[in-house]
Symmetry: D2
Subunit: 313 residues, 4 copies
C-alpha cells in the first residue's frame, strides 16, 4: 500500500504538474483524474491503440469543439461515436452561429418568446436551426442521389464534413483525417428531423446497419482498443458493445455524473462492463465522477505534455 | 399559499391513500410523487390525451414488464418510445429466460467466466442472448422479404410482436393494441448487432426516417399530448422533440436520477423543455428525482384507483 | 439465485402489498425498499432491539412530525439522534406556526424582503423564529438555575419537551416516553444561536460530553441495536460511532441521496461502516438511495402492517 | 450576452491559464470553476475580507492538509470552521501516522480484522487512533485544570495546536496565526469520544456556546465576509448562520456533490441562503457541483497566481 501524498500547490504550476499531484494523492476524485490522465496518455502515445472517443451531453455547445478537433488532428482519436446533437451544434458553429452564456435560472417562457433554446446555462437562437435547415437541404442535395439511396449515417456525415470549410469543425477535420463519425441515433437530432422533412419529396435513406459495419471494421482491425467516454447514452453503449466482438477494450476512461444505483447504462460502472465482455478482464478502466467540462480539459491538458505535436498550429 | 400537511400513516392504508398524503405535504420528493400521480391520472382519464411512455434504463429487467403491459392493455399508453435494450429483454423473457437477483458488489471477472451479464444488481445468462439470436433469425426470416427491403424499426418490432405468444410481452400486447413501438436507436442493442450479422447474407434494411414518420403521425393526430418519461436518453429526446411540431406537449412527467447541472438532456429540467417548445408554456410538467423502480409503481398504483378496468384480467 | 419477479399492480392495493412486490423484484431501488421495510419491521417487532432513529434534513418541515411521533408512541424508536434544526421546527409547529408549500424556483431576494425563509420548496415566516425566541427564553428561565449550570443537550431538550402541550410534538412525546433526544450539535441551530443570546446575561452551560454519556448508556444497555438513518450528517456519525463501543449495530437502514464517491460520511456505504466496527460483520444493512420523503413513509407504512398498536388513537 | 468561447488547450499551460479558459467558456461546471476562482481570488486579495473556510468530508485524509496550511500561512483564510474528523486526522498525521491509498471495492470484513478503517478509498490503521488517545490524554492533562473547567472547543483546539510541532499541521499553524478553529460538533469525532473517556475521571468541560461567541466576534469585527465551503454539514450551516447577524456574507463559494432537491442544507443552493439573510442580496455566490478534491486545487492554484507570497517557503 502506498501513502496518500499531501498536495502542494505552487505559483505558476502547470496543469500537468497539478494532475501529477492528484495522481500522487491517489484517492477520491483527484486520484481518478490522475489515473485517467495516465491512461489517456498511454492511449495517445501507443500507436497500437485505436482510440474511440464518445460524446454525449453538450460537448460542442460548452466550448470543447476545438479540443476535439485538436485530438483528431493529432491522431489521438481514431473513431468518434457521438450523439446527433453534438454534430448539429458543430454545423451550427460552422455556419457562424454562436452559443451564448445564459443561466440555469432562466425564464423559459420568455426564452420561448425570444426564440432562444436553453441547454443548462447555454443559450442558442432558434434562428441557427433555421439557417442550418436551409444549408443542410442544399448540402444534402449536392450529394449524388445514387449515394443517397442507401447511406450510413457515418458516410452521410462525412459527405457533410467534406462540404464544411471551417477548420475548427469536428465534421470537417474528422472527414479530412478519415476518422469515422459514428452516430447510431442521428435521426434523433434536430438535423434528423430536418432530414425527415427533406425526405418527404427527396431521396434519402439512411441505413444504420451500415454504421454497425463501419464501427465493426474499426473494432476488427484494431490491435488494442482504448475508449474515452464523455457522458453515457447511445455513444457509450454502441462503442462498448461493438468491442464485445473482440473480447472487450484494453483501456477505458469514462467521465460521468450519473449514478450506478438506478441501473441505467449511462451511470454503469466499468466493472459491470467486464461481465459483458465490453472491457477485458485484464483491461484498465477508470471512472471519473465529475462534470465533463471540468475533468476532460484537465485530463487532456495533462496528456498534452508528452504527445501533441500540431497543437500550436 | 397552502400548508404542508403533516402525514399520518395508517395500518392497511392503500397506495392511493399514501400518495394522496404525499400530495398534501406538497413538498420535496413526496410532493412531486403526489403531483405526478395526479397528472398521470389526468392523462389516463381524459380520452383526448395521446399518451407517450418513454423507457430508458432496465425497466423490463427490473420487473416492470407487466406494469407496462397493463398500461397498454388499459389504453393508458398510446405510443411507446424505448431503448432497444428494453425490447431485447422483453423478447428474452418471452423466450422463457429470466432475470435474476444479483448484487452490485459482484466479482465481474467471475461473472464473465460464468457467462452472466450484470445490469446493476440484475443478472442474466448470456445463453439468453444466444437463444434470442436463433429465434430472432428464424422470426425475421418469416417476415416477407418484400417488407424487409425497407422497414421502420417500429414496423419491424410489430412484426416481431405478432410472432410472440407470451401474453405478458410488451411487444405482443403493443402490437395487438396498435401501440407503435418507436425505437430510434434499435441498432444500438444486442438484437441490433444480431441483425447486423443477419444482414451479412440476408435482406434487412431498417429505415429510421420511417420511424420519424410513425411518431409524427401520432403527434399530428393528437388532440392533447401527455408524456411519461422513465429515464432520459434517446427516448426522452425523440418523444419531446417530435412534439415541438405541435408547439409542445400539454402534460409531462419525468422520473430520473440524473442531475441538471452537467447540461445533458437526460437530466434536463422540464422548464428547459419549454424554451425549446417541447412543453407548452401553459403545459403542466413534473420532474420526480427518484429511482424509477420506486416512483413509477407508486404513481401508477395511485392512478389505478380511478382508471383501470382490465387490470385483474 | 432467485428470479426477479415481475410486478403486478392492482386496484386498491395496500402499501404493504406494494412493498412486498418491490421486495419480490429484489433489485435496484425497489428491491432496497423491500429489504429495508423487512429489516425495519424486524427492528420494530423484536423487543430485544434498541432502535436509534437519526434525523437530518428537513424531516419536520416536510411533514413527517406525526410519523416520528407515532413511531415513538408505539415504542418502535428508543433513541432519537437529530440535528438541532428538526427540533427547532418541532417547537415552531408546537407554537402554532406552519410550514408552507413554496417552490424551488423562488425569487429569494423577494422572500428575504417578505421575511420568509426557504428550505428547498418549503417556506416559513421568520416571525416563527421571533415567536420561538420569546417562548424559548421564558421556557428556559423556568428550568431551575441549578440544572442550567451544567446540562446535556438531551436533558435540556427534555426540559423543553416537558413544557410543550402539543400532543403531536416530537419533543413532548419523546420526553413523555423517556426517549432521549440526542443532539450533539444543538448549538448549530437557530435555537442554539438564541441560547447564545440568552447566555449573555443568564445562566446556561450545555455540556455535550454529557450527551455522549446519554447515548453511551443506551448503547451499553442494549441487547441488540438497530439504527434507521434519515440523511447523514452528525446524527448518522454520532449514532454509528457510539455503537463501535459494542462492536457495531446489528441492523441498519439508511436513506440518503448523497453519493459515496466524494468520500463524505453522509454518503458513505454501510459496508464501509463495517471496517470501522460501526456495523457488525454479521449485521444486516440496507442503503436506500432515495429522497427520504418518498422512501421513509413507504417503509414505515409497510412495517405498520404487523407492529403498530396505538396508531389509530 | 457573451459568447461561449471555445477552449484551446496548449502544451505546458498553467493551471491559471486553464482556469481562465474555463471562465471564458462561462458555462456548466467549467464556468463555475472559473467564476469561483475569480471570487476566491478577490477574497484573498482584498484585505477588507475576513475569509471563513469550512471543511466537511475527508479533506485532510485526501491530501489537502498542506493546501489548508498554506492558505492560513498566507493569510488567505481567517477563520476555520470544521468537522471534528478533519482535526482528528490532522493530529494523527502530526503523530506520524499516514493515510493510505485503498479501494472503494474493499472487503470491509477483512479490513475490520486487519484493524483498518476505510473512508471511501482511503485507509487508515486503527492503531493511529490508539496512538492519538495516548497522546491526547497526555496533552490535555498539560492544559491547566483551571482552563479545563470551562473551555470552548476553539480554545481547546488551540491548546492542542500549541503542543503540535509538525509545521504542516493545520492545528499548529492556525494557532500560530491566530486563526480560530471553530468546531461546533467536536464531540462527534473519535477524539470527542476519547475525551468522554478522559472526562470519566479527569476535569474537562467543553462549552460550545463559547464557540458561538468566538465565531460571532469574527463576524462582528469583519468589514466584509467571504466564505469558502468544502462540503456541507455543520461547518457550512454554522458559518452561514452566524453571518445572518450581519445581514449575510458578501461572497460565497461552495463546492459540493450533494443535490438541492432532497432539501438538506448540505446540498442547498446559495440562492436559498439569500432568503435567510445568510448571503447578502447583493452578494456574489458560486456553487460548484464537483468533487472537492478536483475543484478545490484548481480554484486555489488559479488564485495563487496573484496572491500567495510564502508559498515556496
Amino acid at each position: 500500500m502506498r501513502r496518500v501524498e499531501q498536495m502542494k500547490l505552487r505559483k505558476g504550476m502547470s496543469v500537468s504538474q497539478l494532475v501529477k499531484q492528484m495522481n500522487a494523492t491517489g484517492v477520491l476524485g483527484a486520484g481518478k483524474i490522475g489515473e485517467a490522465a495516465e491512461l489517456a496518455s498511454e492511449m495517445f502515445n501507443d500507436p497500437d491503440y485505436t482510440v474511440f472517443l464518445t460524446l454525449a451531453g453538450p460537448i460542442v455547445p460548452a466550448g470543447f469543439r476545438r479540443v476535439i478537433v485538436d485530438l483528431i488532428e493529432n491522431e489521438c482519436v481514431n473513431v468518434l461515436v457521438t450523439t446527433g446533437a453534438n454534430m448539429v451544434h458543430d454545423m451550427v458553429e460552422a455556419l457562424g452561429y454562436r452559443h451564448m452564456v445564459g443561466t440555469f435560472a432562466a425564464e423559459d417562457r420568455s426564452l420561448r418568446k425570444e426564440n432562444i433554446g436553453r441547454i443548462g446555462d447555454i443559450y442558442i437562437e432558434q434562428e441557427a436551426f433555421q439557417g442550418l435547415e436551409k444549408w443542410l437541404f442544399k448540402t444534402v442535395e449536392a450529394i449524388p442521389e445514387e449515394k443517397r439511396r442507401r447511406i450510413s449515417a457515418a458516410e452521410f456525415l462525412s459527405e457533410i464534413g467534406k462540404r464544411i470549410k471551417d477548420k475548427e469543425s469536428i465534421l470537417a477535420i474528422a472527414t479530412h483525417k478519415n476518422v469515422p463519425i459514428i452516430c447510431p441515433a442521428f435521426i434523433d437530432s434536430i438535423a434528423g428531423f430536418q432530414l425527415w422533412v427533406f425526405g418527404q419529396d427527396k431521396t434519402l435513406r439512411i441505413d444504420p446497419l451500415l454504421d454497425t459495419q463501419v464501427i465493426m471494421d474499426k473494432v476488427y482491425e484494431a490491435k488494442k482498443v482504448g475508449v474515452i467516454m464523455l457522458g453515457g447514452g447511445v455513444p457509450k453503449h454502441f462503442a462498448l458493445f461493438a468491442n464485445t466482438f473482440r473480447e472487450g477494450v484494453d483501456a477505458a476512461v469514462q467521465i460521468t455524473m450519473d449514478r450506478p444505483e438506478p441501473g441505467g447504462l449511462s451511470g454503469a460502472s466499468l466493472e459491470e462492463a467486464i461481465s459483458w465482455g465490453k472491457v477485458k478482464p485484464k483491461g484498465r478502466a477508470v471512472t471519473v465522477i465529475c462534470d465533463v467540462t471540468i475533468a476532460f480539459p484537465l485530463i487532456v491538458a495533462a496528456a498534452l505534455e508528452n504527445h501533441w505535436k500540431k497543437v500550436n498550429r
